[in-house]
């Protein structure tokens, strides 16, 4: 065994390159900057492109152009930058442009605190687009997750042709940890499906039950159209309500193919538990410790750590909540994901523990809440 020592952000960058990322563009922002720094070391010497945009809007715009020209692209930012990405995120969703977007969250609102952590963007990542169509959000708990989930994020972006977010946190991104990076089992690398019959190619026509159109790159032998406007299968503006509805329904439904088998999570069910604790991100680490300590003290609770936040793994949550007297959701904000959990667990009391002061939620706070909250 030989391990290495690096930041979560560096692990994301290294995971991206393993996944085939060959185009990165970003704009400096704490606490995400070290992803850009690492990509700048990794990509240019190996023939890839790494650019610093004039602002966040440009950075993600570069990525969208490059992605449609066939490259695997990633950008990274924090809350203020995600806000600026918003119009381009809507574009990527509606026009099915694969891209991985890393949000190394910092304490908001607004410019907030550059060097303090939070998980305050969780609903924003889901709903910060016009049109409200679904996205995929993965949430790492530690450096190994940063590395592996980034590879999965690229695979998902390629498979479903949509933006995939990594909801990291300053407390993961800028924390250095040991990682056995050489011996981790790597997922198979996937790429978007190329149209097999270029003749008569329509950029948004769907020929399979995946609900995802085949791809041809801008710059290839067949002229290809991309548009942010409401379009039919041919990529031209349409006003036909039927065509619009078919397309919107498809976009809303295509992520349903992410079944329970494809959600990322850790579950620690306990036989005698009456409480299920649900958490994600860096808070999962305090929860793991609390889980271990309470079990040793004879007060076991079940623990579900979600690493796929969106789409909401509804069946998974319902499965582990079944028979519980209460469910406790712990997150580093003032109550965001708990709303999703409440919606899907009618009849089970759902309690909330959270804070948004730049400090980690501690194992003691969790134990205190469970025992006296």
């Amino acid at each position: 065994m030989s391990v290495s020592f690096m930041e979560g952000n560096e692990a994301i960058a290294r995971g991206a390159v393993i996944a085939g990322c060959n185009f990165f563009a970003g704009y400096p922002i704490t606490p995400a900057t070290t992803i850009f720094n690492t990509m700048l070391k990794l990509l240019p010497p190996s023939g890839g492109i790494c650019m610093q945009g004039e602002d966040e809007i440009a950075s993600i715009g570069f990525c969208l152009g490059a992605s449609m020209a066939g490259m695997k692209t990633m950008t990274a930012t924090s809350g203020p930058g995600i806000s600026l990405y918003s119009e381009q995120i809507s574009f990527a969703i509606g026009s099915e442009i694969p891209i991985v977007i890393v949000d190394v969250q910092r304490l908001g609102p607004s410019t907030g605190s550059a060097t303090l952590g939070a998980d305050g963007d969780i609903q924003f990542l889901r709903w910060g687009n016009s049109g409200g169509l679904p996205v995929i959000v993965l949430s790492p708990t530690d450096i190994t997750d940063c590395f592996l989930l980034t590879i999965h994020a690229f695979n998902l972006a390629e498979k479903f042709r949509c933006p995939v977010f990594i909801a990291s946190n300053k407390e993961i991104g800028m924390t250095r940890e040991s990682i056995d990076i050489r011996n981790l089992p790597l997922p198979e690398i996937k790429s978007r499906k190329t149209a097999s019959q270029p003749t008569g190619f329509q950029p948004f026509a769907v020929h399979s039950d995946t609900g995802v159109p085949d791809f041809l790159p801008i710059g290839g032998s067949i002229p290809v159209r991309q548009t942010s406007s409401t379009h039919g299968p041919d990529g031209y503006i349409t006003n036909d309500p039927k065509a619009i509805e078919i397309n919107r329904t498809r976009l809303a439904g295509k992520l349903k193919a992410i079944s329970t088998d494809h959600f990322f999570y850790e579950a620690y069910p306990e036989k005698d538990a009456t409480t299920l604790l649900i958490t994600y991100g860096v808070t999962a680490r305090a929860a793991r410790q609390a889980h271990r300590e309470e079990k040793q003290s004879g007060r076991p609770f079940s623990l579900l750590i979600l690493k796929t936040l969106w789409p909401v793994p509804q069946d998974l949550i319902q499965k582990y909540a079944k028979g519980m007297k209460r469910v406790v959701v712990v997150e580093m904000n003032l109550g965001q994901y708990v709303k999703e959990v409440e919606c899907i667990l009618p009849g089970i009391p759902v309690l909330f523990l959270g804070q948004m002061n730049g400090c980690l939620i501690t194992p003691s706070q969790i134990k205190e809440f469970l025992n006296h909250g």
Binding site: L42, E54, G61, G65, G70, T115, S221, I222, R285
Partner: protein, 426 residues
Amino acid sequence: MVSLLNQNRPPAFCPGCTHEKIVQMLDRSFQNMGLAGNRIAIISDIGCSGLFDTFFHTHAFHGLHGRALTYATGIKMARPELTVIATMGDGGLGIGGAHLLAACRRNLDITLLILNNFNFGMTGGQFSATTPMDAVVESGFLNQLENPIDISEVARSAGAEYVVKCSGYQPDLDKELEKAIRFPGFSVVDICGICTGRYVQKNRLTPKKIETLVSNHNHTISSTPRKEYYSHYKELSKNQPPAENPIPISPVFKPLQPTRQEIVILGSAGQRILSAGEILCLAGLTAGLNVSQKNEYNITVLTGPSITELILSPDPIDYTGIDTPSIILALSSEGVERRKYLFTNTTPDTIIIHEQNVKIPSCNASVLSVDFKGKGIKPKEWALASLAVLAGMNKVISLDMLQKAIELRFKEPICSKSIHLIRNMV
């Protein structure tokens, strides 16, 4: 060559709109150049200029208002062999001004056609960045308050090396477009025209007036253009050193303690606190421990406290916070001040090593005062020296672990100097 116009989608502009003439001229320039549709990408954004991509049989990318140049940049970097044309209106230029400035500075081989008709046509004739102050527009009196810009002048001062101002009515516009497309760098063609649907409803603007307007401007065409961005990028990329792989560290020592150890180093900028933290973690790795490091420092990095929080543990590290450290190394007053609360939680099992001149709050810990200054050790070496003191006590790390970490981290001559320092401390 055949026309690249899309026969199924003829131009759909208002009667008399200059844009239609420009579409025809652009097609003619493509024909003159012998370009096939699959060798061209037309990138457009919002407004009437955003319809351009639909009228051609080429690659096309239509995006958000003012952002055409951002997509064009990504496409050109991915497919440098393509002829990339971006079309933007004067409205898009206003909202996307930063992208224009950056494109001028960057000099990537894209041709920007500005379809300048002095107002927002599609939304009803509001004023844009180029609307004259005396024009009558749908923004009421507001355009009387803002000075219009001359986009050509702005592009020139931002470093664009090919800037021409044209009339959409000039008969040799196709030749002008061809020259701009052939220019090996970023080129701007500011094409002035008439918005028949909106602007000229209340303002007098004729092809003749546009001809006068355009003739007053000098063209900028560099005869010795600077390096084009993509080829320059490739040239510089080739000289970049290959990326270093993360250093693999195999365990060669046995851990000293069987339990999780939490260490906090409190110092100031310039004391190499974060480096010392890294060394301690690397030392932990040489004994097969799991390690984590969290840092805190001012955004103005050369001043203020510098703090590093370290965990070394035989078990996987879950919670990375430190509330009751086993070791505190106190090396500056402002560092101590920032983490004062840590001292209240100390017990006799806590070890504090401090420079004897750095005052610490009264506490229950076992305190070791060290006269680093008296030993002739400079403040920037105190952090490493305090690790040596810790290793000398066989707490958390051994001296061999520390030396191994230094060897992993530093090249000569710093490596030998550092080893000399720690050996002298013990």
